[in-house]
């Protein structure tokens, strides 16, 4: 083997390299950039092909093949220049471009007339030639265009339009090509294929750039197979060179002996070849797989880590750190599906952007729908460029721009989207490649199950500290948080508010526990809506809430709390809906002003709450030193007295109103008073508590107050009411409640009034409740109201006798009326001595007992 062989081998190697590049380029997505780059590679192929064949003396001869070579050589600068213009999106150099192509054609034509290479021949694969007159012009022209291309790229790098990393090896390769072309100007050097050797290196550098830096934005470009081919190629070259050197050295030292030479060559190659092979492999690995090795390490560490993490925050942090480390992302955001809202929220981010916490996507959001449907990465250019995402709001677009989001990666578990990883560009602006994508998918797939487990654990943890009904924190968590705030001295000053729903027991009695629960949920929701970021609100127990207000002094806290109270009042009491009479009372204590321990603060806030209740409810009271449930009895007495005076004024007004109703309907004059007295009689006989007796008494007086809202012609109609009229009449119950609910101390009579037309069998009104669901006082009123109505004259009938009335009561027993109470009432009536007395006193009518 002599040296001439290598002058063939080099262009041959270069030709193979460029052909492989060309084949791969032909298989990638076509756009103008890839097309132009393909033309550039074709020009290189022609160059290498010419260089190879012209050294072999194949007909029609070296000069002809050199002319072919020159087509490639002349085409390379102008095509590459054109490529850089498109690649760098430079569109104002059309003049240079047109001139370049025209002059290239002219130079190629002139070369065919022998003006560039006058004479050429090959001896032992060495190419000898004589330059023609335009050779320097061609050289100068080529260098000018390659320099223009070079300058264009460097300008864009300086302007930060193209990342240097992405094109640096292409630029280095370009410098080699320029150098190689220049060497051809010196025939003594040019006869050796230095230009082609440099071109080969250029091809390797281009491949490396494409693979490592995704130079053309092409997806998977150099496959493993190609890398191994390259490896084999390099190994072969090294092997051939080694054998050649050993053979030369041996033949020079010991003379030429085939067997000895072969043996020694084998020994030397065996000794040196293995380390060389390892070095080459290591070099290729480092060159092409450096990133991959790094990624493997990151993946291994991450996989180890997630097996030991159960906390969702730690896991999310771990994932996002591994991702940014593994693929070198500048920014990353992890969005997880929150079970409480059903939306995807930003959970962790490597870079804080203002408003990032507001980024939420519902399950109907186009990005979520797309990611749920597809199993691939969604790019921002797809989002901007596809009609499918036309429903994005302007604010969402701005948000994504602010985040510098470029890629959305789905995190799925059993085909269900559980999270999204949003990535920005890589540091340095490189594009993500297939390996990055593989790594990301491996990571998120490994993380999906762990994230799901962690979320479940998180939910369980949250459930343990959450009240099931209101979804607020529970009593236990509140005490823990309060203790922590105090022990860690997290805030120099804060306020504690104890909140109690007024008349809640009554509400429950009236509307049932289910309605009560709903009311509590609503109150919780209203309170939540008024909270500041650091406030902690908990359901303390029953209808009581506790609120921690960090950083608020006593006066400020009173203002803030007053807003809460007003919000609840606005939500409930200000409506026309009779069932919405709920308000809250609030007691406030301040740290450290009033106390420095949990117990003290809770006690003082409770005391203030007690005072608020005593002052008439629906108000906020700030604890004052010296106050106490016992210590302030004097004050409370005073309050109660004032409140009593206010209530008395209200009672008078309302009783006057009740009297007005009776006066309005002269047939039922005195009816309210009668119902009240009969009611008290029955309540006492039935063994009602003192409080219930009082309720029956007041409710009896006020039970028809709502008739103020019923037209007089219906109230006094001499004939039977029509269905429509009866419907209007029925409304008096609700109107009564609407009037009374605004008088705090009368609210307790509402259940009795609300239910005095309900029937034991459930066929009454307004709600149709039955049996013992009807409050006791209501059942009582129902009986005595009916009795008084039966025994009084009505426009459409005369009064029934007592006997008839009792018979009617007996008939309705267990159907319309509570059986037990009816029996008690009939017995009471039948006790004549009492009855006569009552009749004379109450009814003032002629009474006959059978």
């Amino acid at each position: 083997m002599n040296s001439s062989f290598y002058f063939i081998a080099i262009p041959f190697t270069a030709l193979i390299c460029y052909c492989i590049l060309l084949i791969l380029l032909l298989h990638v997505e076509k756009n103008k950039i890839t097309k132009l780059y393909s033309f550039y590679i074709i020009a290189m192929v022609i160059w290498c092909f010419g260089s190879l064949i012209m050294r072999t003396n194949l007909p029609p001869g070296p000069l002809f093949w050199n002319k072919i070579l020159c087509i490639g050589l002349i085409s390379v600068p102008i095509i590459f220049y054109n490529f850089t213009l498109v690649f760098t999106e430079t569109y104002n150099k059309e003049g240079y471009l047109v001139f370049g192509y025209c002059s290239a054609v002219a130079l190629i034509v002139l070369n065919f007339f022998g003006l560039m290479i006058k004479e050429a021949y090959a001896v032992n694969n060495i190419f000898y030639y004589r330059l023609g007159p335009i050779a320097p012009v061609v050289a100068l022209w080529s260098i000018v265009y390659l320099l223009l291309a070079f300058i264009n790229m460097t300008n864009k790098i300086r302007a930060d339009i193209i990342p240097f990393d992405r094109v640096k090896f292409v630029l280095y390769g370009l410098m080699l090509v320029i150098a190689g072309a220049l060497l051809n100007l010196f025939p003594e050097i040019g006869k050796y294929p230095f230009d082609i050797a440099f071109n080969t290196i250029n091809a390797v550098l281009i491949s490396y750039s494409i693979q490592r830096y995704k130079f053309l934005g092409i997806k998977v470009f150099i496959t493993r197979g190609i890398l191994y081919s390259l490896y084999t190629l390099i190994l072969s070259v090294v092997y051939i060179v080694s054998v050649f050197i050993v053979e030369k050295v041996l033949s020079n030292i010991i003379g030429y002996t085939t067997i000895v030479s072969a043996m020694l060559t084998a020994i030397v190659v065996a000794i040196v070849f293995q380390p060389i092979k390892s070095s080459i492999q290591m070099w290729i690995d480092r060159l092409f797989y450096k990133e991959k090795l790094h990624q493997r390490e990151v993946l291994r560490d991450f996989t180890n880590a997630i097996n030991n993490i159960i906390d969702i925050n730690d896991l999310s942090q771990s994932l996002i750190k591994a991702v940014t480390k593994g693929v070198n992302s500048e920014r990353a955001y992890l969005l997880l599906n929150r079970s409480d809202t059903g939306k995807f929220h930003v959970y962790v981010a490597t870079y804080y952007v203002e408003g990032v916490e507001a980024l939420t996507y519902s399950k109907n959001h186009p990005i979520i729908k797309w990611l749920s449907r597809e199993n691939e990465i969604l790019t921002m250019s797809q989002v901007w460029g596809s009609a499918y995402f036309g429903g994005l709001w302007e604010t969402e677009k701005e948000q994504l721009n602010k985040l510098e989001a470029k890629y959305f990666m789905p995190i799925k578990l059993r085909d269900k989207l559980t999270g999204i990883l949003i990535l920005s560009d890589k540091i340095g602006g490189e594009a993500y490649n297939a390996e990055d994508s593989d790594l990301l998918f491996t990571m998120v797939n490994s993380a999906a199950l762990a994230l799901d487990n962690a979320q479940m654990y998180e939910r369980a943890k949250l459930e343990a500290i959450t009240d099931g009904l209101t979804r607020l924190y529970n009593h236990r968590y509140f005490h823990e948080a309060l203790s922590k705030v105090i022990s860690n001295r997290e805030w120099e000053v804060f306020s504690l508010a104890m909140i109690d729903v007024d008349m809640f027991k009554l509400y429950n009695d009236l509307y049932g526990h289910s309605a009560g629960d709903k009311a509590l949920e609503r109150i919780a929701s209203v309170l939540k809506g008024c909270l500041r970021r650091d406030d902690i609100l908990a359901r303390y127990g029953g209808e009581e809430f506790a609120l921690l207000l960090p950083g608020l002094k006593k006066e400020d806290s009173l203002n803030v709390i007053e807003r809460l109270r007003a919000a609840v009042e606005e939500e409930f009491s200000s409506t026309k809906n009779i069932s919405e009479f709920l308000t809250i009372s609030i007691g406030i204590a301040n740290y450290p002003l009033h106390g420095k321990s949990c117990e003290e603060l809770v006690e003082y806030a409770d005391t203030a709450l007690y005072i608020a209740k005593k002052r008439g409810r629906n108000q906020c009271v700030l604890y004052e030193k010296g106050n106490g449930k016992n210590g302030s009895l004097k004050e409370i007495d005073g309050i109660e007295k004032v409140q009593g005076d206010i209530d008395a004024a209200y009672f008078s007004a309302i009783y006057a109103l009740a009297a007005t109703i009776d006066a309005k309907d002269h047939y039922t004059y005195g009816h309210s008073e009668n119902v009240s007295k009969y009611g008290v009689m029955l309540a006492k006989a039935a063994g009602f508590s003192e409080e219930s007796i009082n309720i029956v008494k007041d409710a009896g007086l006020l039970h028809d107050i709502g008739k103020i809202g019923v037209p007089e012609y219906i109230l006094t109609k001499p004939s039977q009411l029509t269905n429509g009229e009866f419907d209007i009449m029925k409304k008096h119950v609700e109107i009564s409640t609407t009037i009374i609910k605004h008088v705090p101390n009368l609210v307790k009579v509402i259940p009795a009034i609300m239910t005095h037309h309900e029937r034991w069998d459930g066929n009454g009104y307004p709600r149709g409740i039955k049996g013992e669901s009807i409050p006791l006082e209501g059942r009582c009123l129902c009986i005595v109201d009916a009795f008084d109505a039966m025994t009084s004259d009505r426009p459409y009938r005369k009064a029934l006798t007592i006997e008839r009335a009792i018979a009617e009561l007996e008939r309705g027993r267990g159907i319309q009326f509570d059986e037990r109470l009816t029996n008690v009432f009939i017995n009471v009536l039948k006790e004549s001595y009492q009855f006569e007395e009552v009749a004379a006193d109450v009814v003032g009518r002629e009474v006959k007992i059978g």
Binding site: I33, Y91, P366, G385, S386, G391, W393
Partner: protein, 523 residues
Amino acid sequence: MKNLGNLLKQEEYSKVWEKYCGFLNLSIDEFMSIQESLLMEQIELLSSCELGKRIMGEGIKPKSVEEFRKLVPLTTYDDYADILLNKRENALPAKPMYWMQTTWKGGTHPIKVAPYTESMIKEHTKCFIASLILATTDKPEVFSLREEDKFLYGMAPLPYLTGLAPYVLKDEISFKYLPDIELAETLSFEDRNIAGFDMGLRTGIDLFFGLSSVLVRIGESFAKGSKERTGELKLPINPRMLLKLIKAKLRSKITGQPILPKHIWDMKGIICAGTDTHTFKEKIEHYWGKKPLEIYGGTEITTVATEAWSGKGLTFFPDVNFLEFIPEKDSIRSLKDKNYVPPTLLFNEIKSGERYEIVTTKFRGGAFARYRVGDIIQCLSMSNEECGIKLPQVAFVDRVANVIDLAGFTRITNNTVSEALKSSKLAVYNWTAIKEYVEENPVLHIYIELKGKKLSDKLVKEKLNSALSALDSDFSDLQTLLGRDPLKVTMVEPGSFDKCASRFGKEINKINPIEEEIKSLIS
């Protein structure tokens, strides 16, 4: 994101198609989902501004499409007039970038204005580009639109909406306008078209956007006066045009047929707007060798729909307006009974073959909500199989029954005719006007019953024509620009209107009465 020019330079045609024409691939559910999302955004914007509070009601913020349709009333320009005509920007949902203007025939002011926000402009540009692409294609993803195409832009300049495109397109793509936009601004509508076609003779024309009637008029003038016309032809400055002109002349000499525009120009795309485009399509194809692409839009609603390459119906853009449709019978009933609130249907509820009045809510911070544009469309089919479009295809039918639109030039209302009759000093007892087509050209046909002495049709027409021309410059332009008589007058016998009224039990409609009523008048 790269703009159109860059995408074209880099030959990324599939990306161009997806970005601008991708809406043609949407399913009806995807379309509705975009509509809903953008409506919610618009409600958000409206609820925080004075105009929105006025239209939707104080404190009302619908949470769903259903609530929006239930709570927000249908509106007309009168509901917006005081805020918009005074250009009270602080009362609007978003800051406008441009104010577009149009005439308000039959309104309380001579003009209407509409605010255009930055994102509306972007959307409008995108829609217009989609139409340009679709005008230059005959199959999906293959189109011939390129940078530096020669664009004859024959529409009214700013502040009319039609004049907006050249300015907003600058950020997306560069065209060679014939004539240059700055020069065009200084020319009248007629001069601009003449200058454009003269330049087109020298350099060639790739794209045309204008009124279909103008294209027909030019085609007709070529066909009628071939000898004179070709004598006037300017010498082309590029060899390709020179060759085409020589070929056209030779062809004309040999065949004895006149030179038609299609023999000189090889247009890539023609976009036409205007109410009567559908009647001119065949003529345009005959004269120009290219079927025009019809787009539908308006000042208050921007570009709303476009045809695809099959020319078998318009497809609505999903992200421009929230679309509702009033069935035609309800629309007519509501015109007669002002207290009647007509029901609306959504885009996925309309049916093939039915006609509807269109109601729009502008997205992207626009001013109009549940706005009755005054246009009638017809649903042609529920999809377009030829183009693979799975969305309902519609055709623009006309203005609502009480307006007569003539070739996109002018809109005639009850008020216009009444005023014209008044100023003509004719002793008119009763009249009615209807839009008719004579040789596929739209005309205004007025039936008149005079009081007292009888006058000839010709005299009455002359008087009325002068009065209409003096009153409505657009009507006058229609005659001078298109060289066509758009007015027809028929005198009816005394007592005809009363007879008709007693027969049908009601007064005949002043504008667009039904065919039977017209028959009864002239019988």
